[in-house]
């Protein structure tokens, strides 16, 4: 084998792969995952914190009993009006950040927002976890509003008491799950809860809470937040 052959292959490889470009969404995904992993490591070292619990205790319980894990009676901070707005739309990045901050006040840190492919995201970190909100219009992103009837049917038929659960409302379907994050190399004590609320008008809000030992919000608290808070402004 000569150097000429090696040079040739090197040139061919570079030519063949030259037009391959990384997606702009990569950076956002790396930052989100990296922050969660860094946070979980810190939380493990520090033994976690109670700041979020205190904040939630003063906010989410307004007008209702004290929150406990999976307590469906937890009140949402900004309930949607009884009459549905005429034309709700996905929030802008700034609007989503403000809504998340209003829903989860306290000793939190706003994370710079990433907006990719029609999806808007915001994060808030706490001493013992991270809460992420993702909003989008499935009609624009997926080509048509998502009908989650088929997703919920087998869950409901199976008793609705497994890792994945579904709640059907007048306005849509809230599919939730909880357990260990499926992230290689993460904190083994990390736990998460997540809900994706597919509204019948096509708008989607996805909330994820991740924390060391336990997520900062329970599954049912997330469901309540997703289905009752005013995530989508009216244009």
């Amino acid at each position: 084998m000569t150097t000429t052959t090696e040079d040739l292959f090197a040139t061919l490889m570079r030519d063949a792969m030259a037009d391959v470009q990384a997606d702009d969404a990569l950076l956002g995904a790396v930052l989100r995952t990296g922050r969660r992993r860094t946070h979980r490591r810190r939380a493990t070292y520090a033994g976690g914190g109670l700041a979020l619990a205190a904040a939630l205790g003063s906010t989410l319980t307004a007008g209702g009993p004290a929150p406990v894990a999976d307590d469906l009676s937890v009140a949402a901070p900004t309930a949607a009006p009884a009459t549905a707005p005429a034309t709700p739309r996905p929030p802008t990045a700034d609007e989503l950040e403000k809504r998340l901050a209003a829903a989860l006040p306290g000793l939190s840190t706003a994370i710079p927002i990433t907006q990719t492919s029609g999806r808007v995201e915001a994060e808030r970190t706490y001493a013992d976890g991270v809460v992420t909100a993702l909003a989008y219009d499935s009609a624009a992103v997926d080509g048509a509003p998502v009908d989650a009837t088929d997703k919920c049917a087998p869950v409901l038929a199976g008793g609705n008491d497994g890792p994945t659960r579904c709640a059907v409302t007048d306005d849509g379907w809230a599919i939730s799950m909880a357990g260990r994050p499926d992230v290689a190399g993460g904190d083994p004590s990390a736990r998460f809860a997540r809900v994706t609320y597919f509204r019948r008008d096509g708008l989607v809000i996805d909330l994820t809470a991740t924390g060391s030992g336990a997520p900062p919000l329970s599954r049912d608290q997330l469901v309540r937040l997703a289905t009752t808070a005013d995530w989508f402004p009216v244009s």
Binding site: A10, L12, M13, M17, V20, L26
Partner: protein, 177 residues
């Protein structure tokens, strides 16, 4: 991470991720798997960025993480596993675009190599790393890297055959020995 450090990391990802994705694609043989591998590698870089940015060559660290994660993953997987429809799957149509067709041919040929040989080829010829650097990353001797390079290139020449001859015509200043 402080704001200045994050800005540096974001700039690093924006300027270097395509280069790393090309390497990951050749290593994994599949764009989706490549993006997953790259994301995992960059997350690792992110979590150690404060130390990495002080090093002389952050991209070298990122390349090393990428290749080692690929090798570790390949060792964990069963030898016959093919996770889904890959870019070189014969069920996929061959592109009529010359550049895309060359990439499909190259990816398919490289996938026929053993994981360590793939890593050697990608590191030496796509990433232009020297023998000593490849040897350090893969835990091999310099001689082992050279012999694997020779063997892998011979195999690629055999696998690429006609496509390689066609590609040669676009490089008239080169000739095969």
């Amino acid at each position: 991470m402080r704001p200045g450090e994050q800005a540096e990391f974001e700039d690093f990802v924006r300027t270097r991720s395509s280069e790393l994705l090309r390497a990951a694609w050749l290593l994994t043989g599949d764009r989706t798997a490549a993006e997953d591998l790259l994301q995992e590698a960059l997350v690792r870089v992110f979590t150690r960025w404060r130390q990495v940015r002080r090093a002389d060559n952050p991209i070298a660290y990122a390349r090393t993480v990428l290749v080692r994660r690929y090798i570790d993953g390949a060792r964990r997987r069963s030898s016959g596993e093919r996770p889904g429809l890959l870019d070189d799957d014969p069920r996929l149509p061959r592109s009529a675009e010359p550049d895309v067709a060359l990439r499909q041919t190259l990816v398919a040929a490289v996938r026929e190599l053993a994981p360590v040989d793939r890593a050697v080829v990608v590191q030496r010829y796509l990433l232009d790393q020297d023998v000593a650097g490849v040897a350090a990353d893969l835990g091999l001797s310099g001689q082992a890297v050279r012999s694997r390079s020779t063997r892998a290139l011979a195999r690629l020449r055999h696998l690429m055959g006609p496509e390689l001859a066609g590609a040669l015509s676009t490089h008239p200043d080169k000739e095969m020995p």
